[in-house]
Symmetry: none
Subunit: 300 residues, 2 copies
């Protein structure tokens, strides 16, 4: 019986990836794989750490169910990284037809093969929504597809973010989508990417007024104060001309109080950034991820 809870025995993991127990124990002793110990000295491996390991080494998974993964990720051969465009095309088709299980398997498979959450966000997810967004304008059929696909991706984004090991002493990040932007997926994906890079991330969701950002960032309690704020801009309320000034005010206050502010999103160009020239703006999740790594290095 595979060990209960979130902890695996060396035997469990060795069976899951089809290697001998001996090798696995040797790997843990060499530090390739982090293990905790019972009081009696038996090794225990966290599930997420196991997933991180198989991903980093690109190991085959023979028995996915032991790791809490769907059976279907076992049989499929490793994906050919050359034909990424075709792959994204395949994901788009799954999303168009509302094939939730297929989309889940596709994304999990690619995640296990080593693609980062940031890369998956920029690749299959963003590409499919670019195309599905076009359909949206063409009537109810497009809206149906878009709604179904969004809900599927919401589940996938949360599932992915639960598969990365958590660092409970990582830097704090908070953010959301600006007022007028009702897209819920970008904030979820941003949160997942932040967790992928060791942040403790709080998501304020879509349609968050600037005043709420201010309140969340400049709280009196220093233990709650974030180290980084992010804002997603995929839509803007055209009827609210004051929003530019409010944003500038917020950005200046962040700079004054030494709080890093990052923005990104499709409509980020519609914001006037003249008065805040040093503000980091990102056009992709991968760029955001690179920024996060540089930010962490600068911090230490």
């Amino acid at each position: 019986m595979p060990t209960s809870g979130n902890l695996l025995s060396p035997k469990d993991l060795s069976v899951a990836i089809g290697v001998s127990e001996s090798s696995l124990k040797r790997w843990t002793d060499r530090g390739f794989l982090e293990v905790s110990r019972t009081a009696g000295g038996h090794r225990r491996i966290d599930r997420n750490e196991a997933i991180r390991f198989v991903r980093s080494r690109k190991m085959q998974i023979v028995r996915p169910e032991i790791l809490g993964l769907p059976e279907s990720v076992a049989a499929t051969p490793n994906i050919d990284l050359e034909s990424l465009d075709d792959l994204d095309e395949a994901f788009l088709e799954l999303m168009r037809h509302g094939h939730d299980l297929g989309a889940r398997n596709h994304l999990l498979q690619r995640f296990l093969d080593g693609e980062t959450i940031a890369a998956l966000s920029d690749g299959p997810i963003r590409r499919s929504f670019d195309r599905i967004g076009e359909l949206w304008h063409e009537g109810p059929e497009g809206i149906l597809i878009e709604h179904r696909a969004t809900e599927i991706c919401v589940g996938l984004a949360l599932e992915l973010s639960k598969m990365v090991p958590v660092k409970d002493d990582g830097p704090r990040a908070i953010g959301g989508a600006i007022a007028g932007d009702g897209y819920k997926l970008p904030p979820l994906l941003t949160t997942a990417v932040l967790q992928e890079h060791g942040f403790r991330a709080v998501n304020l969701g879509p349609n968050t007024p600037i005043e709420v950002f201010e309140l969340a960032c400049f709280t009196d309690d220093p233990a709650q104060r974030p180290d980084l704020v992010w804002m997603s801009v995929n839509d803007l309320d055209q009827d609210d001309p004051g929003i530019g000034d409010r944003f500038t005010g917020f950005a200046k206050r962040c700079e004054a109080e030494d709080l890093t502010l990052v923005i990104g999103g499709r409509s980020v160009g519609e914001i006037d950034l003249e008065s805040t020239p040093s503000l980091p703006v990102h056009r992709s999740m991968s760029a955001f991820a690179d920024f996060l790594e540089a930010w962490k290095r600068r911090r230490t």
Copy 2:
């Protein structure tokens, strides 16, 4: 009952750290862990000693709430485990403070203790959002709390629905929130409840026009046709007077084509149901769950 006072039984601590009672008792006998004894010889472990032990061995904590760790209930230390109302109150406090881990532990524990997803939806989740909704009108602070709590609950709803076994031959259900209703949580919870009762559920999410419902339900492909449709109504677009007629038309078509339609939600009373008297309307998830069971019995 898990615990009372400041002393844990070996069983309590063993489930808290996900280890067998046998092992834990052996560890106490070897002195890894200091215990006192009752007059009759039963072991009693001080909470602080238990925490020292798990910290010193870096053991994983499966059920933090048993140890009373800050991740769970420390923010609200005065909760009375006897009364359900006070339990819901504790959950509300966790949500108010944006304590995602604590809220998760709270809800998962209650789920594992036997409460259904429907009961949790009507209980802690609905109650806390009733209260948090009041705060929303009071300004940015309330909006901050509401946004944070919503995102936490989105994650919890999806996590719960992943914990119920999927029946891949169950009846098909599809649904979402009506146009003008932007609340994303009710559709997610409804989907979770449907899965809890063996349905294959598709979620169209918030703000779904009636035309999209029609398209999704009366598709040409019989393999995609659902056996049940549900519609969540927690808000209505007041500027769209035609919505009542469109809804009536949709309801009549469902009846004509022998497709069960169910509606529910806070604002369901604002819809004119005169012309569709036989339509099932539910005011709670528990009522909806009862209906689903009756529906399945009638079907067989």
